[in-house]
């Protein structure tokens, strides 16, 4: 079992007003799964992803990651888990400005234990998303689709167990989006766990399992039959 959430509750307090964002979430994820978390905006799906991705702590409940309860870990230990085991891909790419593609991919390695071979690992990750030729470009000199592929390379570079993709195609045209989804599918084929967060059912149908969340509760959790799955082809170079 890679991820096990037990009775996760997340409340936001704003003065006297308490907003219950997540209400008693129970979810397990096995290694190698390809899950889509879907739901309308405000459903709590982003908060759920942030919680699973160790960017945020639950108000109550238990989160067991690789068999270890993460309740008592401090901020620095959570940072180490994020660095080693989790790769993030965001809707708006979040590349560093005025920085080369290669240096953007190297960035997570700078916060890791490994002090050598950064450039080699980054080049390998760029090759996996077919962007070796663009590695010396500045991050603002490439297209949106290419930016998201750089972000995927950056998510891959520390060889994490899980990749979180938060609306990865949200800012892309359909061609670029298709390429990005193709890459994510391939990563899953190679055994990497993918957790996709989206409001778009067409995107969610790339996955093998769809978890629907509404008003902070899981309302459905179903497998996607192989015949219903959507598969993208690589369109862009």
């Amino acid at each position: 079992m890679l991820i096990e959430l037990k009775n996760i509750v997340k409340n936001y307090e704003n003065g006297d007003v308490i907003t219950h964002v997540l209400k008693d979430i129970n979810l397990t994820v096995e290694e190698g799964e390809f899950i889509a978390i879907i739901g309308p905006s405000g459903s709590g799906k982003s908060t759920l992803m942030h919680t699973i991705g160790f960017l945020d702590r639950p108000t109550s409940g238990e989160y067991i990651f690789e068999g270890e309860n993460t309740k008592d870990l401090d901020d620095d230990q959570l940072a180490v888990i994020r660095n080693k085991h989790i790769g993030f891909v965001f809707q708006s790419f979040n590349l560093l400005p005025r920085t080369s593609v290669l240096d953007n991919v190297i960035l997570p390695l700078l916060y890791s234990d490994s002090k050598i071979g950064h450039e080699k690992k980054a080049k390998e990750a760029l090759a996996a998303v077919n962007l070796t030729e663009r590695m010396n470009y500045m991050s603002n000199q490439i297209s949106g689709g290419q930016k998201q592929r750089v972000a995927i390379a950056r998510a891959l570079v520390c060889n994490p167990k899980v990749i979180f993709a938060d609306e990865p195609t949200g800012n892309l045209d359909s061609k670029s989006g298709s390429t990005v989804m193709h890459i994510l599918e391939n990563l899953n084929k190679e055994g990497r766990t993918i957790i996709l967060v989206t409001h778009d059912l067409n995107v969610a149908n790339h996955s093998k399992r769809i978890v629907t969340i509404r008003d902070g509760e899981i309302v459905s959790d179903r497998k996607v039959e192989e015949k219903d799955r959507v598969h993208s082809k690589q369109i862009e170079d």
Partner: protein, 420 residues
């Protein structure tokens, strides 16, 4: 760390004009400190050259109003400082050549000369100048370090014989003779003709009592023929061992007191000054001025530091999204903190280095101006000053960078990411 420096350079480069304006306060502060220290060293080099020119192992004996009469004379004249007879209406007439001869017998005294000063019109052909005339006994040439470039000095026989001979300061010789060889020519000093027997090499001085503008004649000639007096204004005593200067000064005072029948030192009609005393006074004044100017420069450093702090807060706000991203990718709080600290240190050190260069340039300009005025003023940038200045600018970067950096480090990654 290497990565932090790289990121900091990227940050600094991203907005060069803001970087420049931010560090301006540091530049001005550090520049002022370097300018003050450097100009101070230059001024010291000038003073040392003046002391060397005057003779290095010396003590001076000059007439002075007794302490016991000062109160009375002050209340009468209203003057508070006038205790040297040279600048006082009441002349002290007790210092004589006999005192100087007796002082020469002190074991640590190599030689001594007595001197008087007058002011006369000096004329050669149709050129006239109002000149300070220094009368000194011939032993002056044994003590004073001035080099006679041409001709010779006068002898003690000439002094005793009231010879009308004169040695000219370099600038004076040039302005009177304008290209003609002065040695052997006759010039008029007051009502007497004097033969020019020598010309000093240029010493490099400044102000009205500049040696280069003066004429030097035997003291007895000045006293008897021009001034009509038999006393001295001061005496300069050359020492064998300068480390015993204080003890020798006491011996000098004892002899003069005995000769002047003074039993109570409060009635001393003279003052003995060792070189370390006059240097000490000079050092005290220079230190006070340096301290004052550096204190003023520190205000600029403080304001500069606050400016850097302000900009660092702005930069943290600007890069909130970037901070959130880095945290998501695994940066720990201290990683973020170091990144911003390195950037603020880089900012202040850039300011410091530019300030050092600016201050050194200012000091260089001052030294060139001083040299063009004929002063032996060296251009010195003290290395310790540079090291301290750059270190101080780095420390300012730490002090004023630490709060913004902590702010950045403590940001919640989710909130930071959502700001993007």
């Amino acid at each position: 760390m290497n990565n932090n420096i790289k990121q900091a350079i990227r940050g600094v480069k991203s907005n060069p004009s803001r970087t420049f304006l931010t560090t301006l306060g540091i530049m001005i502060g550090i520049g002022t400190v370097i300018l003050v220290l450097s100009a101070g060293e230059g001024f010291k080099s000038y003073i040392n050259s003046q002391i060397d020119a005057f003779g290095s192992n010396i003590i001076t004996l000059e007439t002075s109003l007794p302490d016991s009469t000062k109160a009375r004379s002050n209340s009468g004249s209203g003057s508070k400082q006038a205790n040297s007879s040279a600048s006082n209406a009441i002349p002290i007439t007790s210092l004589k050549m006999r005192d100087v001869e007796d002082i020469k017998n002190i074991p640590n005294v190599k030689n001594a000369y007595g001197a008087s000063i007058g002011q006369q019109i000096v004329t050669y052909k149709n050129v006239s100048k109002n000149v300070f005339i220094f009368g000194a006994s011939a032993d002056r040439f044994d003590i004073d370090k001035g080099i006679i470039e041409e001709g010779r000095g006068y002898s003690s026989q000439e002094d005793k014989a009231l010879a009308q001979v004169v040695v000219l300061g370099n600038t004076l010789a040039t302005s009177l003779f304008d290209g003609v060889d002065p040695v052997g020519k006759l010039i008029r000093i007051g009502n007497y003709n004097f033969e020019v027997i020598g010309v000093y090499a240029k010493k490099g001085g400044f102000g009205p009592m500049n040696d280069d503008d003066q004429a030097f004649i035997p003291v007895t000639t000045l006293q008897k023929k021009i001034q009509g007096i038999d006393y001295l204004i001061y005496s300069v005593i050359g020492l064998i061992d300068n480390t015993k200067a204080d003890a020798t000064a006491l011996d000098v005072a004892d002899i003069v007191r005995k000769n002047h029948y003074i039993t109570d030192p409060i009635r001393d009609d003279f003052k003995v000054t060792t070189q370390s005393e006059s240097l000490g006074t000079f050092d005290t004044i220079l230190s006070a001025v340096t301290f004052l100017l550096i204190a003023i420069a520190s205000i600029s450093l403080l304001v500069g530091g606050v400016g850097v702090m302000n900009i660092m807060y702005v930069i943290v706000t600007e890069r909130i999204g970037e901070i959130g991203l880095k945290k998501a990718l695994g940066a720990r709080n201290r990683d973020i903190m170091y990144e911003f600290l390195v950037e603020s240190i880089l900012l202040t050190i850039i300011g410091g280095v530019i300030g050092v260069m600016g201050g050194a340039f200012g000091a260089f300009v001052i030294s060139k101006i001083a040299q063009s005025l004929g002063l032996a003023w060296k251009f010195i940038v003290p290395i310790w000053g540079v090291i301290i200045a750059v270190s101080v600018s780095g420390i300012i970067g730490i002090i004023f960078g630490v709060f913004p950096a902590q702010n950045a480090a403590k940001l919640n990654p989710i909130e930071a990411l959502n700001k993007e």
